[in-house]
C-alpha cells in the first residue's frame, strides 16, 4: 500500500519523447527531484557532482560558439549546433523545439554578457536546471548498443541490476557499468555532420594508453566504486581523486659549480607518476 501511495505521489520523470516549447515543460519532463524520495543517498551524491552542474559548465565557451556560428559559419544558430554541446551537457534538450533552442541560446548570452547582475543570475538559475541527471544516464544514454538492443524505452530506468520497482519500469543494463558508457560523452565528439569538436579525448586516452598497456579497471571502478565515491563521480576538481591519480617523489642535493668560484647550486630529481586510467589532466 505504501508503495502504491508513493507511486501516485511521486511520478517519476517520463523521459517522454515529445517536443517541448518551454524550459519549464522540458525540465519537468526530465526532472530528477522525484527520484530523491526513493534514492536519497544517490540523489545527494549527485547534487554535489559536476554532472549536476553541467548546464553551467563551459558556459563561456558555449557563448563564444553561439557567436562563432553566426560570425564564422555565417548562419543562424540552430538546434543541431546547440546539441554539439548539449548532447552531453544537457541531453534532455534533444526534445527542445527550435523556439526553445533560441530561448536557451538567449539565456546563455544573458548568463555571460548581461550587464545587469540580477538578469545574469536569473539566466544562470534557469540554465542550472539543465544538467546530466538520473534520466540522462539511466534512460537517455543507457543504450550504448542501440542497433542491438533498441532505443531506451520511455519511463524505463536502466541500471546494473534491473531490480523491479513499484515506481517505474526497470531494465538491466550491462552498458551502464562499462567504460564505453562514459565514453559516449568523455571522448572526441563527432556531430551528425561528421565534424568533430575536441572537447576531450579522455576515452581515447583510456583505450589507447591504459587498456593498451594492460589496464583493466573501468571508469566506474575508480570514479564510483573506489572509496564509496558513488554518484559524486569526482575527477579533476576533487583533491582526493587527483591525489589518487598522481604520485610524486623527489630527491635533492647541494653541489658547487664553477671551480674557483664554487657557486652553490641545487640539483633536484623528480619522479612524477600517473596512476589514473587516462592522461592527466583531462575531463
Amino acid at each position: 500500500m505504501r508503495w502504491l501511495l508513493l507511486f501516485f505521489l511521486l511520478v517519476p520523470p517520463a523521459a517522454a519523447r515529445a517536443e517541448f516549447a518551454s524550459l519549464d515543460e522540458l525540465v519537468r519532463a526530465y526532472d530528477a527531484e522525484s527520484c530523491k524520495a526513493c534514492h536519497p543517498t544517490i540523489y545527494e551524491e549527485w547534487t554535489s557532482s559536476y554532472h549536476a552542474r553541467s548546464g553551467l559548465n563551459s558556459l563561456g565557451v558555449l557563448r563564444e560558439f553561439i557567436e562563432a556560428v553566426e560570425r564564422d559559419w555565417q548562419r543562424e544558430f540552430r538546434k543541431e549546433d546547440l546539441m554539439r554541446c548539449m548532447d552531453c551537457h544537457a541531453p534532455q534538450l534533444k526534445d527542445a523545439s527550435e523556439s526553445l533552442v533560441r530561448e536557451v541560446a538567449r539565456l546563455v548570452v544573458a548568463a555571460t554578457d548581461d550587464k545587469d547582475a540580477a538578469g545574469k543570475e536569473a539566466a544562470r538559475k534557469s540554465l542550472a536546471r539543465l544538467n546530466v541527471n538520473c534520466v540522462s544516464c539511466h534512460n537517455l544514454k543507457a543504450a550504448v548498443e542501440k542497433n542491438l538492443q533498441g532505443a531506451p524505452q520511455p519511463g524505463v530506468y536502466y541500471g546494473p541490476t534491473g531490480k523491479p520497482s513499484p515506481a517505474h519500469g526497470t531494465a538491466r543494463s550491462s552498458a551502464i557499468t562499462s567504460s564505453p558508457f562514459c565514453g559516449q560523452c568523455h571522448s572526441l565528439y563527432t556531430a551528425a555532420d561528421r565534424e568533430t569538436a575536441f572537447c576531450t579525448s579522455l576515452y581515447e586516452s583510456y583505450q589507447d594508453h591504459y587498456r593498451a598497456n594492460g589496464g583493466l579497471e573501468s571508469c566506474q571502478d575508480c570514479h564510483m566504486r573506489a572509496k564509496g565515491r558513488g554518484h559524486r563521480m569526482p575527477g579533476r576538481h576533487d583533491l582526493d581523486a587527483v591525489r589518487d591519480g598522481i604520485t610524486l617523489e623527489a630527491s635533492a642535493v647541494g653541489i658547487r659549480l664553477h671551480p674557483g668560484r664554487w657557486v652553490p647550486a641545487a640539483v633536484v630529481s623528480i619522479s612524477l607518476g600517473n596512476r589514473a586510467g587516462h592522461r592527466i589532466p583531462d575531463g
Binding site: V61, E64, F65, A68, R84, C85, Y189, E195, T196, A197, F198, C199, S201, S205, Y206, H209, Y210, N213, G214, G215, R236, H237, L239, V242, R243, I246, T247, L248, E249, A250, S251, A252, V253, G254, R256, L257, W262, V263, P264, A265, A266, V267, V268, S269, I270, S271, L272, G273, N274, R275, A276, G277, H278, R279, I280, P281, D282
Partner: protein, 100 residues
C-alpha cells in the same frame, strides 16, 4: 597540471629551480593554438600518460654564501586559472660543504 620546484635559502631568499606544465595543446588545421572545442582538430599532448612515470631534473645556481636550503617540490592542478589545488608536496633539505 604544473610541477614546480623552489629553494628557500638559509637567508630566506626564494629561488625558483624549475617549472613544467603538462597539458594538451589544441591546434586548428593550420597549426594555430585554439582554446575552443569546435576549433580544435588535433592536439599535441604534453600530459603524463597513464601508467607512466616521468623523470624531471632541475639544476639551479643559488646565491653566493648559501650554506643550506629547503627544497620544495609540488605538483598542482588548476581547475580554473584562479584556483591552485596542490596534489602533492615534497620537502628536502640540502646543505653545502665549505668551499674547497
Amino acid at each position: 597540471m604544473v610541477l614546480e620546484a623552489t629553494a628557500t635559502t638559509d637567508t630566506g631568499e626564494i629561488v625558483p629551480l624549475g617549472k613544467k606544465e603538462y597539458q594538451e595543446i589544441g591546434l586548428d588545421l593550420d597549426g594555430n593554438q585554439r582554446m575552443s572545442a569546435w576549433q580544435i582538430k588535433e592536439i599535441i599532448d604534453f600530459s603524463p600518460q597513464p601508467g607512466k612515470i616521468l623523470t624531471e631534473r632541475f639544476i639551479q645556481e643559488l646565491p653566493e654564501g648559501t650554506g643550506s636550503a629547503e627544497i620544495e617540490v609540488k605538483v598542482s592542478m588548476w581547475p580554473d586559472p584562479k584556483t591552485e589545488m596542490v596534489a602533492h608536496r615534497v620537502v628536502k633539505k640540502i646543505s653545502f660543504a665549505p668551499r674547497p
